[in-house]
Symmetry: C2
Subunit: 351 residues, 2 copies
Amino acid sequence: MITVAVDVMGGDFGPEVAIPGLAKSLDRYPELKFQLFGIEDKCLPLLEKFPKLKAASEFHHCEVAVRMDDKPSRALRQGRWRSSMWRSIEAVKNGEADVCVSAGNTGALMAMARFCLRTMANIERPAIAAIWPTVRGESIVLDVGATVGADAQQLIDFSMMGAAMARALFEIDRPSVGLLNIGVEEIKGQEEVKEAGRILRVSELPGMDYRGFVEGDDLGKGTVDVVVTEGFSGNIALKAAEGTARQIGEYLRAAMNRTWLARLGYLLAKSAFDRLREKMDPNKVNGGVFLGMNGIVIKSHGGTDADGFAAAVDVAHDMARNNLISKIEDDLKLFHARLPVTGELVEENQG
Amino acid sequence: MITVAVDVMGGDFGPEVAIPGLAKSLDRYPELKFQLFGIEDKCLPLLEKFPKLKAASEFHHCEVAVRMDDKPSRALRQGRWRSSMWRSIEAVKNGEADVCVSAGNTGALMAMARFCLRTMANIERPAIAAIWPTVRGESIVLDVGATVGADAQQLIDFSMMGAAMARALFEIDRPSVGLLNIGVEEIKGQEEVKEAGRILRVSELPGMDYRGFVEGDDLGKGTVDVVVTEGFSGNIALKAAEGTARQIGEYLRAAMNRTWLARLGYLLAKSAFDRLREKMDPNKVNGGVFLGMNGIVIKSHGGTDADGFAAAVDVAHDMARNNLISKIEDDLKLFHARLPVTGELVEENQG
């Protein structure tokens, strides 16, 4: 049995999207149970419409809902202990749920998760991992915006967490991992990226296959299963790619509307276009995963629809079923057992 | 009259692509003159096929061609003074040409340009500016990989250079400028980006309309005319966007080949697809512009075709016709006259 705690109030549309989304995910995974947190009179009437979901859920009334534009500090001040966001995270902490899902605002969700769940031993900073659609399938990219900048040790932590997530999500034994870098040779590159690469190469961790540096265009190619970078460039890469997909969608619509022949062609190829739209739809891979804390929190896009929210719940299901947290803990222990003094290894390699 | 110095040997295909490309650009801009640098027996037979181009060109034999995989240090050692790449840059320095175009390797080209042309007074570091296709037209994005990291002053320099380039290329008086940042509120953001924003806001430069921060998805939207960031994230954004465009192209091809109805639809809408392909073609906006040195160097994609090379030459033409270098020099003078002590302004703003 897998229990998912849900902040039903999160996102631009709150329960209007979350509740039908949960019902969709439950259809796919009937073993799911839910702990729902939200404002009673906004949620219960909707829940009545989905009897199967209602039967699988326990509902908890919360007085406060964190707003999409609340600053993290305000959200913490107003919403700690009593908001639907806080209480859904707390359910994971208390062992009442295996994983938490919210479409609430990222800053507030991260602040509350850090405060409530705390970072894991040996992990300095959490990361947000995105599931990135590629021509080969999907890759994991992290950090896409939890924090700005990362030193070598943090990049190594991200690599281990990302590899553990790939093992849980894609069910492969030894996911390939690459560090995002830029290819212009004349420049020095980020020293932290180079040092992280040196350490990953010599440490030969059993849970990942470190493949060296990758570049921005390797993201869409799916060159590796896990792409690791610091949060500033990761966030910009993610949004640049999403923006490009939307931009091409607009070009395509405009092109198909220009002549009657194009419109006719569009109609004939409509099923193909629908498939394409599905491939390009960011909702299909909805769900940023917060890693590095003592519990998994899945962040759904705020503006998503029921299908997108269901996709985030599906990700939550996969993470919990495959025991992501204990996979990460095992890897961290192993890594630190192998590398008691990181500095030594680096020197050895430079010598 | 505008004279373009051309490294005919640069790129994956050298003169095979450069010479037909030059001929195409000359058809569009008959006032162009060329100083061509290359290996005689590889270039002259091809040049014979384009009599108009030959008449507009002066050819200079060079013994050395920098290879696409040469490291910058090696390229400088082997190619200084005598390679086609060096000599085309030198032609700008000596006033024999207004601008230089090469499809040679970026690292070597930047190293040679810095060595030969030197950075402008008051500019610490050069930048590479890309012309980015947007749903509204085109924007300028810099730095896309000349150097890693940038402090506030360097970001301000990039803003001024980018704005001057936008005035030269798009012929608008007061281009809008944004600093690339990430939107997660909880985190601090890059301090350098914030400080650059503060200074740009209070200095109210006449040559640009500073609009604050933009995010990765604003790139494709064309929210501002000029997007400024440091080279690591800029390079990753550029390649992530290019990769996404290629990825969607592959999805589209696969979708249109799945059923006979889709194939028929494709045939009927073929002209629309051709328009789309043109919009998505990175060659159409080929040409990274090296800014911040005493002379303009245009870097064409190494793997481009004749159309792409011609697009790079078109950019060179526009930059030279609109006197980009003197625009940048004027702006720098004005900025430094307004802000004799940068520190003061920052404090004033913080107080």
